[in-house]
Symmetry: C2
Subunit: 231 residues, 2 copies
């Protein structure tokens, strides 16, 4: 079986520093399915490079003559095209995973912003900095520096917001149960965003979320060996 | 097939007013599986009535010579004993549903407390009132009246906290996908707790969560016909 999967993957100044939480979902989904992939480091301002996908953000996956954009679309494409080693375990799993995605996108990732966005900025390629600052400051309604002030205080609320995750991981090894699946990769992608860019300690040492994160690092070399910070 | 299912179900002064969010999970799970059940109205202080279950809270389900306590244990028992019309669609569904339960128990239900607990109290049987007030005030660290002050303000934060649910229900009819399953009943149980006791309007009229709630009421006569408030 010959495959020619290519993933455009957000990178920092160091082309090996891959930090998009959405791209991490797909890198882990590919690793879960044991699908080899060539990743291409991509920067925010390389809009022309992925113009063929009809939009301007990564992840973008190219599979032979197909181009797909958006982590959810890509994950579902992979599940249909390469059904072995399921990411969802069927349509009910897909439906339930959408709530995990919605929780992550509306709560976990916004909760990480004031903790790590300054560190993300520090790792950007020079050519991305003006774009990143302008677009994020417009979205936040304040400067990056103001948004990231007082993170020692803000992390307390962030940790509290993880309670549903924590309570679940006290009862089972992974969100998917005994084995991780795409629900885990969605949430873990947020932690890989932080790990790739920020030395800030997100979790208390005795937080039950920490060993889950360690189990995923243990299992996925692609995550464990990526440039980042052990916190 | 002869069945003898009996459910001890929390009731108010009116024995037909059933308001426990945990009992509602099981009533809906039973209806989902089309299993007939006899429900017995139970009050908080009827500890001796369920002493046979080895603990003091409902739901308690009796199935022939088996007694089960705790909504999660009961739901999983029903799934194994009566596998038709699955509540979870397999072990991955069970695992993912635990996150829905954790989200509901750590966020949705606590968010409802300051909005409806005063109304819950008003519907209690006389014999339960002293117990309920003392136990809840100890847990809350304040009087019921103080906990329920300013609900017009607090409901704004409650509505914001529903964003993961809202985002999901913009994309699919039920948490379980095209059809509801136990994940829906867990969350909907919280709304039945409110509906059974409180005239307070929880959702804005154009909230995408509202038509989901209506779809479940439409589908389950046991919920639709129960004494409660249309808000």
């Amino acid at each position: 079986m010959t495959m020619a999967l290519t993933l455009y993957d957000l990178a920092g100044a160091d082309p090996d520093r891959r930090f998009s939480p959405y791209c991490w979902r797909i890198r882990l989904a590919l690793a879960h399915k044991k699908l080899p992939v060539e990743t291409i480091p991509w920067r925010f301002t390389d809009k022309d490079v992925i113009a063929f996908s009809g939009q301007g953000r990564v992840p973008v996956l190219v599979d032979a003559d197909e181009a797909l954009a958006g982590s959810w679309e890509i994950a579902n494409y992979l599940e249909q095209k390469y059904p072995d080693r399921s990411l969802f375990d069927g349509p009910v799993g897909v439906a339930l995973t959408r709530l995990v995605e919605s929780w992550t996108d509306s709560l976990l990732l916004p909760g990480l912003v004031p903790l790590i966005l300054g560190d993300v900025f520090a790792h950007l390629h020079e050519k991305d900095r003006a774009y990143f600052r302008a677009s994020r400051e417009q979205r936040l309604g304040m400067t990056l520096e103001a948004a990231c002030a007082d993170r020692d205080k803000k992390v307390i609320g962030f940790r509290q917001s993880l309670e549903p995750l924590r309570a679940t991981l006290k009862m089972q090894a992974f969100l998917g149960g005994e084995e991780p699946n795409y629900a885990d990769y969605i949430v873990f992608g947020g932690f890989m965003w932080a790990r790739s860019t920020s030395p800030f300690k997100l979790l208390e040492t005795d937080d039950p979320v920490a060993p889950w994160r360690d189990r995923l690092l243990e299992r996925f070399e692609v995550a464990r060996m990526a440039p980042g910070y052990d916190t």
